[in-house]
Amino acid sequence: MVEIATDTDEAVRGIADGSTVLIGGFGRAGLPFALIEAVRRSGARDLTVVNNNAGNGTTGLAALLASGQVRKVICSFPRQKDSFVFDELYRAGKVELEVVPQGNLAERIRAAGAGIGAFYTPTAVGTPLAEGKEVRTIDGRDYLLEYPIRGDVALVRAHAADPMGNLVYRKTGRNFGPIMAGAAKLTVVEVTEVVPLGGLDPETVVTPGIFVDRVVATTPHPQEEDA
C-alpha cells in the first residue's frame, strides 16, 4: 500500500538540499502545481530541477526559481513567452542550464527507471548539443551515447490513484509522469481523486503502484488554468 498523505506539505517532507527533483508536466498539463508549491514552502535549496520547461509566469516552477531554491535546470525548452523569471536568473548567472532534446530527455529518464546503463540515440548528432558526447556508428548511422537522468524525488500529477498507488492520467497531462515515477528514489503524486481498491481497471492502469511512494489528493490548482 502506498502512503496517502493528508496534505501536500506532508507529501513532500524530507526532500534534502541538493536533491535532483524530476517534475512532470508539459506546459501546465500534468504539472504538479500543488507539490511544487509545497517544495517551495519546504525551503529545500540547491535543487536540480528536471522538467520539460523552466517555468512560466510567476507561479509553480517559476516561483521555486524566484525563491532561489534551484541551482540547475535540466530541460528541453526554457525559453517561452513568459519565462522571464528563469531568463533573468540565467542571464544573471544565478542558475545553470542543461538543454537536452525533448526525446533524449524522455529516454534518459526512462533509462534511469529501466536500469539501462546508457543508450545510443541518433538525435542531436552533428549539432552543438552533441559536444563532448561519444559518437558511435552502428549499421552506417551515427549515434550519440546518452546516460540516464535519475531523480532523488519525482513530483507527478495524475488524475486518479488507488490505494496501491496505481495511477491513471488525463489526456496530454500524462506526458512525463509515467517515466519520472520510475526514475526517482521517492515518487510523490498529486491526484484529483483517490479511488477505493478495485476502483481502477487493471487493464487501464498507466503507472503501476510499484513506482509510487506517496499520494495526495488536491484539487487542480486554480492558478494552473489562468496563471
Binding site: 528541453s76 525559453r79 531568463d87 525533448q102 552533428g126 548539443l129 500524462r174 506526458n175
Partner: protein, 219 residues
C-alpha cells in the same frame, strides 16, 4: 517543373495549402509549432491524415475554443486542442520512441536555414545572449521519414535561407527532403536541389538569386 508566373509569390495560407496537398493519403504527421500548424486547416478529410503531437497524442483535432478547452489537452505549442475519434494517448518516452523509431511519415517544421544537402538549422540563432531552447526539434528532424520545411526564401536582411552550408547551429544533418517557400517548392534529392514549382518567379531568376545549384537551371 511548373513555373506559375501568372501569379505572385504565395502567402502563408498558400504555402500551407501546398504542404497539405503534398502529404500522402493515410500519413501520420507532426506539425511543428507556429506556421506549420496552419497546414492542418488545409488537410482534406479524404486524406485520412492522423496528426501526432509529441506531448503524447495521436488523432489530434482542431484548436479548442470556449467550453471545449480542457487544460489537460494541449498540443506541443501548448495551445488547447481537441480529440478526434480513434485518438490515443501515451507518455513522452513512447511518443518520442514513435518519432525516433521512424514511424512518423512526415513532419513539417519552420527553419532559419536549410542547406542543399538537407542540413537543417531551426533551433538557435547562435546569438551569444540567446537562451538555448531546442524542444522536440532535433528529435523530429532526425526521426520523421520525411521532413518538410516551411519558410520564407529570404531573411529580412535579404540573405537566402536555402544555402550551400548552414551558418546557424544545426538541428539535424541531411534530414530535410522538401522546402516550401513563398517563391518555390524545392525537393532536396540525392541528385541535388530540384525546383518543383515556382510562384511569381522563374527557375532562371531563382538560380541567379540563390547560391546553391538548382537542377536543370542555366549555369
Amino acid at each position: 517543373m511548373i513555373e506559375h508566373t501568372d501569379q505572385g509569390p504565395l502567402d502563408r495560407d498558400g504555402m500551407a495549402r501546398l504542404v497539405a496537398r503534398d502529404i500522402p493519403t493515410g500519413s501520420f504527421v507532426n506539425l511543428g509549432i507556429g506556421q506549420p500548424t496552419r497546414v492542418a486547416d488545409f488537410l482534406a478529410p479524404e486524406q485520412q491524415v492522423v496528426l501526432h503531437t509529441e506531448n503524447g497524442m495521436l488523432g489530434m483535432g482542431p484548436e479548442a475554443h470556449g467550453d471545449a478547452i480542457d487544460p489537460d489537452l494541449i498540443n506541443a505549442g501548448k495551445i488547447p486542442v481537441t480529440e478526434l475519434p480513434g485518438a490515443s494517448y501515451f507518455h513522452h518516452a513512447d511518443s518520442f520512441a514513435m518519432m525516433r523509431g521512424g514511424h512518423l511519415d512526415v513532419c513539417v517544421l519552420g527553419a532559419f536555414q536549410v542547406a542543399a544537402n538537407g542540413d537543417l538549422a531551426n533551433w538557435h540563432t547562435g546569438a551569444p545572449d540567446a537562451i538555448p531552447a531546442v524542444g522536440g526539434a532535433m528529435d523530429l528532424a532526425t526521426g520523421a521519414k520525411d521532413v518538410f520545411v516551411m519558410m520564407t526564401l529570404f531573411a529580412k536582411d535579404g540573405s537566402a535561407k536555402l544555402v550551400k552550408e548552414c551558418s546557424y547551429p544545426l538541428t539535424g544533418l541531411g534530414c530535410v527532403s522538401r522546402v516550401y517557400t513563398e517563391q518555390a517548392i524545392f525537393h532536396l534529392t540525392a541528385d541535388g536541389v530540384v525546383v518543383a514549382e515556382t510562384f511569381g518567379t522563374t527557375l532562371e531568376e531563382l538560380a541567379q538569386r540563390l547560391d546553391v545549384p538548382l537542377a536543370g537551371a542555366p549555369q
